[in-house]
Subunit: 382 residues, 2 copies
């Protein structure tokens, strides 16, 4: 299948591009390289050193004989994007190309406006480009489980059947996102749904849980293919931060009580979910929503898992409860459906001690690249 | 009460500013005057000639002795907006300052992106400005009934209690907006709700129905105070278009079967709803939603009402069913709650033959200002 991976230089996009390439798809990466600039802005860096996109793709071709084309540019530039779509004529369009950090979006007004405009306009340009140039292409868009918030009822996959005053309908699941970033994904979902209804586009919205882990079979092949491993307070997700903290002798920084429960997924499963969605496309006019995660954990449970495994590497760690920089419920009901991708064949990798030891080992090996001051939360929701 | 009316030069904002001023509030208008430029862009004009904002306010002061201050500028300019908030320190902020035409937003990609960025960024800037400068101010934001779409269950006022798998919660009412414009209002609603939850802001979202009519007691006082009367395909709503068509001997242009049912409200009631919301503010942290309309009509019913009254002015009209330029259901269930504003004291003006004759008379008097080619739909949803 001819596929473009928008955001193909990022933490999810890069391993996805390689996974699709090795599985025989004809892949092009579309990326503005903005994520690397945000590291510069924030004074942080990936715990694993990452090669330039050019070096990455050259090494990939040397190792596998497979070419991955590259288009460097920004989805907010509609004319340029139209040129890419005309050149590539993709059958599948994977769209990771958004600012994806909740804390980054909450730094200040400028970062909030940037995140929403960047994400919403990029996606609008892509929708118009699909409509005009490749109307039968299947859009696989990354959403987030955070769109739903923490309602007191079960979370379903995108829609819910509501019975009300003697009538019923299946309607979009209500959204209660928890940051300016999560809001941008809610806006995208409504925009894409409209374009499916109105123009007959085919789209799959993957409401992904929090992603953890680093390497996939492909990225682990060579240091020049290594994936990024974010452990800072702005782009690092909880488990990756805990691992970095354990490796460097810092307390594990649980925000508040730690009862915040979310869906989680390994990066190894992310890449497989994307291919499953591509191989089983949405129908024309369909806005299909899958919840893309494999297990539910509270933040405190994850810290406890890391603390339990760390001694086997000679590390002793403590769990610290910090004042929560976010505004969120720290104890709540949470039960979210996630059967659609399993129905398409996903066999989940569960979080196990082996993976935790692998992550801790990487963090110990590269601990000189961790910036201790950037482990503690610097961005407040208030 | 110290009030700023953002968008106070527009069709709803201007009569609202005067209504609040005459009722004793201390009013300032904040407007970019963009609406006048869109007339230039589209080659159309208000059926009633409207004076400049400066002339309007000078005449208002001459007639009533009341001053209304003006700040000309754009809400997307955050620094300027912050200066306005610091100067005015409003207790109430009425926010009409958005691009409000569905067809305008559907002209092409540029107009879609403009509408969403303009509306979302302006509102985000206002939210940050309130948070930082006037955190106890009450935001009264204009939404639209079009946010809900046409679900097969009753529409409630912003929230719905959902019973699901043995549990229940009150959640935001699901949204199925029907244009890039309506989507922008859905995005706003989610953004404002978040800021109420997270920062403790107080906001009322008025999901207004389609507004018809022209004058209020205040705008009718003098030709220099006249309100705009849009009858073109892009900014004219159905009833106003029908009136202009009847006055100029054109068929009434019903889109499709005409069974599209919506909530409707007279401009005379709009201004009263705004004051009611201001006098009974939301609590800190509350995102309150009122459905602001007084009656439900199908588009065909409205055309029939106009056709029935027109002969009393010597006009004979026919109803024409045009191919629908929009993508929407032309026959559907529709029953929307609208009791909250009545509970605060609203006594609705119903659509009656007297008002229809008043509108037809205005349209006949000013028929030389109607551009016939701009009565037929030029913008397609497809």
């Amino acid at each position: 299948m001819r596929v473009i991976v928008c955001g193909g230089d990022g933490f999810c996009g890069w391993p996805t591009a390689l996974h699709l390439s090795v599985r025989g798809h004809d892949v092009a990466i579309v990326d503005s390289l903005a994520r690397r600039q945000w590291d510069v802005e924030l004074g942080t860096q990936s715990l694993l050193p990452i090669a330039s996109l050019e070096e990455r793709l050259q090494r990939w071709e040397e190792l596998t004989g497979r070419q991955v084309r590259v288009h460097v540019g920004d989805l907010t530039d509609a004319e340029w994007l139209a040129g890419v779509l005309r050149a590539e004529r993709p059958e599948g369009i994977v769209h990771f190309a958004e600012q994806r950090s909740a804390p980054y979006s909450m730094i200040d007004r400028q970062h909030a406006v940037f995140t929403q405009v960047n994400n919403v306009v990029g996606t609008l340009n892509l929708l118009y480009g699909i409509k005009e140039i490749v109307p039968t292409a299947h859009l696989v868009k990354l959403g987030t489980m955070g769109e739903y918030g923490t309602p007191n009822i079960d979370i379903e996959e995108g829609y819910i059947e509501i019975h009300h005053k003697g009538r019923s309908d299946v309607l979009p699941y209500p959204k209660q996102p928890g940051s300016m970033y999560h809001l941008s994904k809610v806006h995208d979902s409504h925009n894409i749904h409209f374009c499916c209804r109105t123009w007959g586009l085919a789209a799959t919205d993957l409401n992904q849980g929090v992603v953890y882990g680093v390497q996939t079979a492909e990225t682990a092949m060579d240091p020049l293919l290594w994936n990024r491993f974010d452990t800072d307070d702005v782009f690092g997700t909880a488990l990756n931060r805990f691992v970095a903290e354990a490796a460097t002798g810092h307390d594990l920084t649980v925000y508040g009580a730690g009862g915040q429960t979310r869906g989680w997924i390994q990066i190894r499963d992310t890449v497989r979910c994307i291919e499953l969605a591509l191989l089983h496309p949405a129908r024309p006019g369909e806005f299909r929503v899958f919840n893309q995660f494999t297990e539910q954990f509270s933040v405190l449970e994850l810290a406890q898992r890391v603390a339990a495994v760390a001694p086997s590497l000679g590390l002793t760690v403590r769990i610290a409860h910090l004042p929560n920089p976010r505004v969120e419920r720290e104890a709540h009901y949470y039960n979210a459906a996630h059967t659609a991708l399993v129905g398409l064949g996903l066999e989940p990798h569960r979080l196990d001690d082996h993976l935790l030891r692998e992550l801790l080992t990487l963090a110990v090996q590269h601990q000189d690249r961790i910036v201790p001051a950037k482990l503690l939360p610097r961005v407040s929701w208030r």
